[in-house]
Symmetry: C2
Subunit: 146 residues, 2 copies
DNA sequence: TTTAATTAAATTGTATACAATTTAATTATA
DNA sequence: TATAATTAAATTGTATACAATTTAATTAAA
């Protein structure tokens, strides 16, 4: 056990976090291709399926993404016809994002995806719940300290 | 409980995985700035501190990254003077990556980083171990099914 | 009520990621 | 051995991410 053991890749927690996140997202891709969505576009639609209309700011807070990422992404979703972008009448600084009928319809196809990806991840119910709990604990701790 | 509950953001496992990965990486940034490294460059250096010399192919397997990501990244690390890129004499297809003295020296500064980031993440030893175990279980399961 | 702060998106610039293709080197095969 | 198949990087093209800055709208303060 030396001073540098903390730098061994096998002792990192961040590394498997980073790799697993990417690999899980990669597993989504073939299914998302059928909906003409990227992963980031997909989680944006997840929020919009639960909230028909909201500000870019609110979307960013829910997704942990800033306008630098969302602005071009939302323009692409608008071109695909899944959402509408329009300035708020009350406050022109806010851009309101709302879902279209075509966007709502996507939800039916998307509903089949979580189970398919779940099979790839292949965790027991208990392990999945524990992982979920630990991830949100880390997220809470990180954000708490800011 | 309806058909679409599986699409609620709160029921996703992938979403906190994606968010936590990004947020943890963001926590590294201020510390890594002092070493003039990005997070991806940092994990590349982690591998090189353990393996003085290896092929881009091997590096990619360890990091779960392909040449499209590594080629430009390694060129940047070479410009910074941390690594050397040279074709293998035996097989010119292979590009050998080796660490320089300057690159080795970075290790001393880097050794302070894991503890600092650990404080932000702030998990108990037990929770951290469990998270580690679950992440590698997922990684194994995903890769198994390919 | 002008001017100063604040706020929300958009923009700019840099650095990944990765699928798909290309290039060059090596190996296997007819 | 000449050709085909394989392999490893590099390249191309698209889509994030995010820090930092800019722009435009709104609100607060002198």
């Amino acid at each position: 056990m030396d001073t540098f053991d903390c730098l061994k890749i096998e002792n990192q927690l961040c590394f498997p976090l980073y790799v697993v996140s990417k690999e899980v997202i990669r597993k989504y891709q073939p299914f998302l291709n059928e909906l003409d969505l990227t992963y980031t576009q997909y989680i944006t639609m997840l929020i919009l399926w639960e909230n028909n209309k909201l500000k870019v700011k609110e979307l960013g807070e829910k997704l942990f993404l800033d306008s630098g990422t969302l602005t071009p992404l939302l323009k692409k979703l608008e071109i695909k016809g899944y959402i509408i972008r329009e300035r708020s009448k009350n406050d022109e600084r806010n851009l309101m994002i709302s879902i279209t009928q075509k966007g709502k319809k996507l939800k039916e196809k998307a509903a089949l995806i979580p189970e398919k990806v779940g099979k790839c991840i292949n965790l027991s119910e208990k392990d999945a719940l524990k992982l979920y709990e630990l991830l949100y604990k880390v997220l809470y701790n990180i954000k708490e300290g800011e």
